[in-house]
């Protein structure tokens, strides 16, 4: 088992390296570099420009540039944002907590929705409650998040006015007060709920199947034949066995959220990393784009790693592969 975890970590090293090479190659492809702004300036002669480029190392071979770039990243130096005129790391730092907060609330809501629904429809399968949940699953499976989020925004944000339609906090409240945190929560609920209502579907389905499977397993039958009350069989045995794998999917769930943030934050004008990503592409601020891709790519790798490891602990079968 430790061998598996160690090996899984070792696999991540080449993955991380490849990711960085790809991101670097993409960054090189993107129009403009650190001196694009300067080169537009008519007062600077081409000779002087060449000198500047030489000094900035932009004429070095790519692997030399890559080495410098990656060692910078290792120290948290992502270069400078040319629209914000401050280091990229600071631009991102401003937003990252908003994204983390949104992701956290989304995850909590996803599980809060999934567990009761999955348990109810698994335990009482083929009753009306199961039919309702299954019907909901069908709808959720077929609905793209961006459309659902738009409708949610339209209904609860604009028409009913229950929730704010943009931003992450009310600008009128002072930072640090209780009202401030309350307002933050108020801003995050609608985007988080929109994602959770859709994202929960996979987990509900999995949990339902898992419970139905376990229900007819030998250990449950034995317990039943011993006269142990049904409720106890569920709370003591079946739920424990079915919920463990769900916990393991946490990492994959995070991976999925990373993709979703781009869309959700854009729709709700929520100032997080995803929205920053989209707007930076629009503004051609590619040092920010590169940094975000690198960072979220790393997060995705970590998410997969996390789930692989938890799963291998919960379910020894997959370790073989």
């Amino acid at each position: 088992m430790w061998k598996f975890i160690l090996r899984r970590f070792l696999v991540m090293i080449p993955q991380l390296f490849l990711l960085s090479v790809i991101v670097f190659a993409l960054a090189k492809q993107m129009p403009g570099d650190a001196l694009t702004g300067v080169s537009m300036d008519p007062r600077i002669s081409p000779e002087r420009l060449y000198e500047l480029r030489e000094k900035a190392g932009l004429n070095d071979p790519w692997y030399e540039q890559y080495r410098r770039w990656i060692s910078g990243i290792a120290q948290g130096d992502f270069g400078k944002s040319y629209t914000h005129k401050i280091p990229v790391s600071e631009v991102i730092a401003e937003r990252i907590w908003n994204t983390v907060f949104l992701a956290l609330i989304t995850l909590i809501l996803t599980y809060l929705l999934a567990i009761p629904m999955g348990i109810a429809s698994g335990r009482f399968n083929d009753t009306w409650i199961d039919k309702v949940v299954t019907g909901y699953n069908y709808l959720g499976f077929a609905t793209p998040i961006f459309i659902f989020a738009l409708i949610m925004l339209f209904v609860f944000g604009f028409s009913l006015g229950w929730f704010p339609t943009g931003g992450s906090v009310d600008s009128k409240v002072d930072a640090g007060t209780f009202a401030y945190y309350l307002s933050k929560l108020h801003h995050v609920i609608l985007p988080a709920l929109s994602t959770a209502l859709i994202a929960t579907v996979g987990t509900v389905q999995y949990l339902r199947n898992e419970i139905i499977d376990n229900k007819y397993k030998d250990y449950a039958r034995t317990a039943r034949s011993k006269g142990i009350p049904e409720t106890q069989i569920y709370t003591r045995h079946i739920f424990r066995n079915s919920l463990l794998p769900i916990a393991a999917f946490l990492g994959y769930e995070i991976t999925g959220l990373v993709g979703g943030t781009v869309i959700i934050e854009t729709i709700f004008s929520y100032p997080g990393v995803g929205q920053l990503f989209v707007s930076s592409i629009g503004l051609r601020d590619f040092s920010v784009v590169t940094a975000i891709v690198m960072m979220l790519g790393f997060a995705t790798l970590l998410g997969t790693l996390l789930s692989d490891i938890i799963l291998s602990v919960v379910d020894p079968r997959i370790r073989i592969e």
Partner: protein, 308 residues
Amino acid sequence: MVLLKIDDLKVHYPIRGGVFKTISDYIRAVDGVSFELKEGETYGLVGESGSGKSTIGKAILKLINMTSGRIVFNGQDLSKFSFGQMKPFRQDIQMIFQDPYSSLNPRKRVADIIAEPLRNYQCLTVGEEKKCVQNYLDKVGLNPDSMYKYPHEFSGGQRQRIGIARALTLKPKLIIADEPVSALDVSVQAQVLNFLQDLQKEFKLTYLFIGHDLGVIRHMCDKIGVMYRGRLVEEGISEEIYENPQHIYTKRLIAAIPELNPERRAQKTELRKKIAKEYEQLYPEYFDEHGRAYDLKSISNTHRVAMP
């Protein structure tokens, strides 16, 4: 005339372990096996499950890559050839598989199953092909009209006959029969076995017959090789093996054959107990310190035993 000669055949599977999945050891599925098949005879391979019988059969047909050794068929060294280069020789060596359920593609009609080898090697017209398929269906005792049915419409015994018909279409010289009856009911077993013997006479076939049922093997085979953990422990003509077993493992196998006569049953149980005890005691004499059988030594013209 020697049709097939197997010389020091080894099939080893690496066991990988550790963080870097390096090779830490080998599973020695077949570990230095040599024997010969004469034309027209039936050679039986017996041994417990996992002793490497199927692996030998599959290695001959290149379904499994062998680690080392030589396989000489009709004077040609097959071990040099790649999977593709084997194609001309596959006409002469065919296989009957253990499981009549998974050895027929469920999506193909019987006609397509039996004609598959014909389409690979011969260019027949539709009529010729149809006639050929019907001919072989008839030979294996199935209604020629059943050629448009699917495998699931047949019983296990009938399916095995389809498998046999498929192996016969190319008129092979050697047929490797990997437990051809072990998946069938006892009542059907005898029927299929007799039928295989009839075919042998009609087509002058040589069989490499793999099995673990000693009764069946005795019924079928002229010569028998007993396998244990990837090695031959004893080889001889049937009488020698059954009446005069030399190796302690063979003795135990023979003693394990169920006795049908009720009066002699008690006697048999007694014998079994005796041999089991003997086995415990004499084990170190017959196997080296790694539990590996010794090389075969001739004790008569036809009889070879693994002794130190």
